[in-house]
């Protein structure tokens, strides 16, 4: 009997669900059309505009460009349609629960022979179906078209990224939509008026990320060592639909750039998103059980949500004052702005000025509570909470991230990180000691992060040691993560860890990971950086990449430092990993020194031996020298200034500026060289310039500076005053105005 009864009831619930779907079918059709104009249309457009000619016509550059533009237009339209469907579609919640705000409809809904639970569940699921199913259908059809497209169009002719790139974005947007639906339902149940439901849905969605950003970059702005960006990203990306969307996009960009896993695949991120979504759904369900028909029409049925939201708005405005670098808001302005907004919201919600004095008292209490909690929190750097160093006995392991900054290569990935896990107690003890010392220095010297960076204004090294990130994994399962700007003195404590197997293994792992993404490899001459050798495409095949990383790994295990800071080790060149045969943008690179025996041996075997020879042949021909080789008289160039700063500035000029940008008096002291035997003799005796002391002569070759040893000053004098040394101004004048024949004749003349 009971089973039969429950079957009848569930049948009725399903009928009601179907009925609601039918009622909302127009919205569903609109959403479906929008989603079909999304992914499916993008792929169809790619197929329509793609032509075989693109692969067969030799010079298809313009055609390809037009093809890209055409497809991109449809990508833009598709993204716009999906965005409209996702954003506007959320209003389906207000349609599904319309009886919550409309007194005329509430009788119809509540008098129907359904239990409150059945009615709510069916309405919730119906709205969710109408909202999400067009997106899923559009996505599935899109992926089918995408698969078909991939069969027809070769990879390099695909404008739309592959499924592996799109899938996490698709999932991320889907999860954000689910979360948005859950939060909107929660707000809807708390409100009895459509105006409030819409307004506070928008406020809730915006205020969550804002509150987090204000807390991290405002209240926690001065705390030394915390990873603000990481904390802000990790919190915002999992707590609001907007955050999930931003996280998805950011993570996709990062994934495309450096191949890291998309955050939506990571349970650590997905779990809180799903938990918050589930909490909103369950919360809405439970509150709905307590909601009464007569609540319809009230601005707020459960006013606690309203009080929480206006308190958070007040908190954000007042706390923003502490993020002075961002907002420049004074405390007085913050209080005035927050009070005005608070009262505006109160007047709207109370539908007038009734009991205004209660609002005033409530605001004062809220503002006071915020100030007496946030104020001391900021002043005491979160009560010193983040300056506590863990006890060694409670630490299970430590992951140390060594961050090196590549001074000379300004490609996007110049921040190279090696993540090393240490489990050995002695090593953990050293890290804790390093941690303590860093904090002690910070506390005693009150060195701010910014001023500390000045210590690293040291230009001689290719790699400078930047930040050290410490991530403790505690025995109780929690994690503590910090990042410190480390000076050499502090770094000394953990420097020996670079010689550990853990560090070497981590370095090798990092290199292997980066090499797998190599589309092309180039070798750059250490002396003449304009001499770039692009390795044969076969070298970018997996087999050769494996052999290359194996060779590098052998060198590392033998004790070679990839991020070499020892200037006595001679650098021969640089190996750079490029994105692809077509896209020569540099992903990352490492220096090859004379210690890289295995790496050099491998490259030599593959026919790239001349690159590593150190003979005279590496110096340019006479005409190449004309563009790249300069002899500089330092005393005239730098001048006799008593100010070291000026001298340093001038030396830096030599490093970073092109020779033509010199001041007139400096140009007088520089000569462009045509290569003859004397120049070759001088060049063969040059030493790498370390910047410790200034020689009489410097030679700038490509982007490198060499010093002329004192014993060869007379040879340098001779060259400087000979015909092969040409004043820079004349040099360029001749280059610009004279024909190649005249220049060739000139070279011939001066090298007689």
């Amino acid at each position: 009997m009971n089973t039969a009864l429950s079957r009848v009831r569930s049948n009725k619930a399903f009928k009601y669900y179907k009925f609601k779907n039918k009622r909302n079918s127009k919205s569903w059709i609109v959403a479906l059309v929008l989603n079909l104009l999304g992914l499916p249309m993008m792929y169809i457009a790619q197929n329509i505009f793609y032509s075989k000619k693109l692969t067969t016509v030799i010079d298809a550059g313009k055609m390809f460009e037009q093809y890209q533009i055409n497809v991109s237009i449809f990508i833009g339209i598709g993204m716009f349609c999906i965005a409209i469907s996702a954003i506007a579609g959320i209003f389906i919640v207000f349609s599904s629960f319309d009886y919550m705000y409309n007194k005329s409809l509430v009788d119809m809904a509540y008098s129907a022979p359904l239990s409150g639970t059945t009615r709510y569940t069916a309405d919730f699921l119906s709205g969710l179906t109408i909202y999400l199913s067009p997106y899923l259908i559009g996505g599935i059809i899109g992926f089918i078209f995408g698969g078909i497209t991939n069969l027809r169009i070769e990879e390099e002719f695909r404008v739309i990224p592959d499924l592996s790139t799109i899938l996490p974005i698709f999932l991320g947007v889907g999860v954000a939509m689910l979360m948005a639906y859950a939060l909107t339902t929660f707000v809807s149940v708390c409100c009895g008026s459509l105006i409030e439901a819409v307004t506070y849905t928008l406020i809730l969605n915006a205020i969550i990320p804002i509150a987090i950003l204000v807390t991290v970059f405002g209240a926690m702005n001065n705390i030394y060592g915390i990873l603000q960006d990481e904390i802000a990203f990790n919190l915002t990306a999992v707590t609001s639909p907007m955050g999930v969307l931003m996280g998805t996009i950011q993570s996709s960009i990062d994934g495309y750039m450096d191949g890291t896993e998309n955050f939506i695949y990571n349970a650590r991120h997905l779990l809180p998103i799903l938990l918050i979504t589930a909490a909103a759904i369950v919360g809405a369900f439970l509150l709905n059980k307590r909601r009464k028909a007569e609540d319809c029409g009230k601005p707020f049925v459960f006013k606690v949500l309203y009080y929480i939201l206006i308190s958070v708005v007040t908190y954000c405005i007042i706390t923003a004052h502490f993020a002075t670098t961002i907002t420049k808001v004074s405390i007085a302005s913050a209080i005035i702005i927050s009070a005005v907004i608070y009262f505006i919201l109160e007047v709207i919600t109370n539908r007038g000025f009734k009991r205004f004095w209660v609002s005033a008292i409530r605001y004062v209490a809220t503002a006071l509570v915020i100030m007496i909690t946030v104020g001391p929190f900021v002043k005491t750097d979160a009560f010193g909470l983040f300056y506590r160093v863990p006890d060694i006995n409670s630490v299970r392991s430590v992951e140390l991230t060594y961050r090196y900054y590549d001074m000379y290569n300004q490609y996007y990935d110049n921040d190279i990180a090696i993540e090393v896990m240490f489990k050995d107690k002695d090593k953990i003890a050293d890290i804790i000691e390093f941690h303590e010392k860093t904090l002690k220095n910070y506390k005693s010297e009150k060195i701010t992060q910014n001023s500390k960076e000045d210590i690293y204004d040291f230009f001689q090294e290719n790699y400078i040691f930047g930040n050290t990130d410490i991530s403790y994994k505690m025995k109780n399962g929690t994690r503590i993560r910090r990042s410190y700007n480390t000076d050499n003195n502090e770094y000394e404590i953990i420097k020996h860890l670079e010689d550990t197997d853990e560090f070497k293994d981590a370095t090798i792992k990092m290199i292997e990971k980066r090499l797998t993404r190599a589309g092309k490899i180039s070798l750059i001459d250490a002396i003449n950086e304009e001499q770039i050798t692009y390795l044969d495409p076969v070298m970018s095949e997996q087999e050769n990449l494996d052999l290359l990383s194996e060779a590098i790994a052998k060198d590392i295990r033998a004790g070679v430092k990839i991020f070499n800071q020892d200037l006595s080790v001679k650098k021969l060149g640089r190996l750079e990993v490029l994105r692809s045969e077509e896209d020569l943008s540099v992903i990352w690179g490492i220096d090859i020194t004379e210690d890289h025996i295995n790496t050099i041996s491998f490259l030599t075997q593959k026919g790239y031996s001349s690159f590593f020879s150190v003979g005279k042949e590496r110096f340019p021909r006479a005409d190449v020298g004309l563009y790249n080789l300069y002899l500089i008289k330092t005393d005239e160039f730098i001048g006799n200034s008593v100010y070291d700063e000026y001298k340093e500035y001038s030396v830096n000029d030599l490093y970073y500026s092109h020779i033509t940008s010199f001041e007139p008096e400096q140009m007088e002291s520089a000569r462009g060289l045509v290569v003859n035997d004397k120049v070759r003799e001088l060049a063969s005796n040059l030493e790498e310039f370390r910047g410790k002391s200034l020689p009489k002569y410097l030679v700038k070759f490509g982007s490198k500076l060499f010093s002329v040893p004192g014993e060869f000053d007379s040879l340098a004098d001779e060259v400087f005053n000979s015909d092969v040394a040409i004043e820079v101004e004349n040099f360029y004048e001749m280059m610009l105005e004279e024909s190649d024949e005249v220049i060739a004749e000139f070279i011939k003349e001066v090298t007689k």
Binding site: L5, F19, K103, L105, D107, S111, P113, L114, S115
Partner: protein
């Protein structure tokens, strides 16, 4: 049977129903009377399970109504609004009702539709108020509920249509033993339609009796005396109204006719006429007796 026991219903600080006890017998036609805001619609919404009582119980056939889908299947509520089904067509409204009411009869719907001939494919929003009422009522009757609740249900119907709709409802009562609870300010309608009435005032039940006893318990008296009598001289009687024009005294008195005649005869009247009251007059004078101003009473 519908049974209210110690029912209290509050809306924030306003007490809409104050400790109400009420029984409506199965198969009866019950009229709810009362001033504006007396609590009539609240009672109907409690019976239909829209509202829950803060205190006390509302039961239908021994089961609590609120959030009880099984009991609600026995109740169809036609409220005083017509906008809620605006985007339904008549056929959709029929389907909607069919979805919820197990006794729903398509034949009955067709039979009733044959009488009213309303457009079936047009949205109800395009109907006149009276047509919407008709549409909702035929769906209600096709649902064949045990209890039909009508809140100002005849509002907007023309006199002919009122008669037709009333006849439909009466037929359903006869055929299905349906109980009808009507709230209306049109006392004539209740007078014609109901066998039992309840008068509500400020959330309390003033009386709850069968219509005949209500009407038989209040009388209009026209009398004249040789002596000069003031209102105070009639303290023996349960006066609802006193009026004197010249030597003629007009009284509205509660009680049986015999009792009133006996008491007045002791005062030696020259003329004594006792006339029964219409329900409308009973309502007006009862309300006056409760201090409710005549000018503000609708109906």
């Amino acid at each position: 049977m519908i049974k209210f026991q110690n029912v209290v219903k509050r809306f924030d600080n306003f007490i809409a129903l104050d400790n109400i006890d009420l029984e409506i017998n199965k198969g009866s036609a019950y009229g709810l009377l009362g001033s504006n805001g007396a609590g009539k619609s609240t009672i109907l919404r409690l019976i239909s399970g829209i509202y829950s009582a803060e205190n006390g119980t509302v039961e239908i056939d021994g089961e609590r109504v609120f959030d009880n889908a099984h009991v609600k299947e026995k109740v169809f509520f036609v409220n005083d609004e017509t906008v809620q089904f605006g985007d339904f067509t008549l056929d959709e409204l029929s389907q909607y009702s069919k979805m919820f009411y197990p006794n729903y009869s398509d034949d009955k719907f067709e039979e009733l539709w044959e009488i009213l001939k309303l457009p079936r494919k047009n949205k109800l929003a395009s109907f006149s108020k009276g047509m919407k009422r008709q549409a909702i009522v035929i769906c209600a009757l096709a649902s064949q509920p045990d209890y039909l609740l009508l809140d100002e249900a005849f509002d907007g119907l023309d006199p002919t249509m009122r008669i037709i709709v009333k006849r439909m409802i009466v037929d359903a009562m006869v055929d299905n033993q349906m109980t009808v609870v009507i709230s209306s300010h049109n006392l004539k309608e209740i007078d014609e339609f109901c066998d039992t009435v309840g008068l509500l005032h400020k959330g309390k039940i003033v009386f709850n009796r069968d219509l005949d006893s209500v009407k038989g318990n209040v009388h209009k008296v026209q009398t004249a005396f040789d002596k000069e009598y003031r209102e105070d001289d009639f303290d023996d009687l349960e006066l609802l109204h006193f009026d004197k024009r010249g030597s003629v005294v007009y009284l509205i008195v509660k009680g049986s006719e015999d009792e009133i005649t006996t008491k007045l005869n002791k005062m030696e009247p020259k003329i004594l006429d006792i006339i029964p009251l219409s329900l409308e007059e009973v309502f007006i004078y009862e309300m006056e007796g409760l201090g409710y101003e005549y000018s503000s009473i609708e109906g």
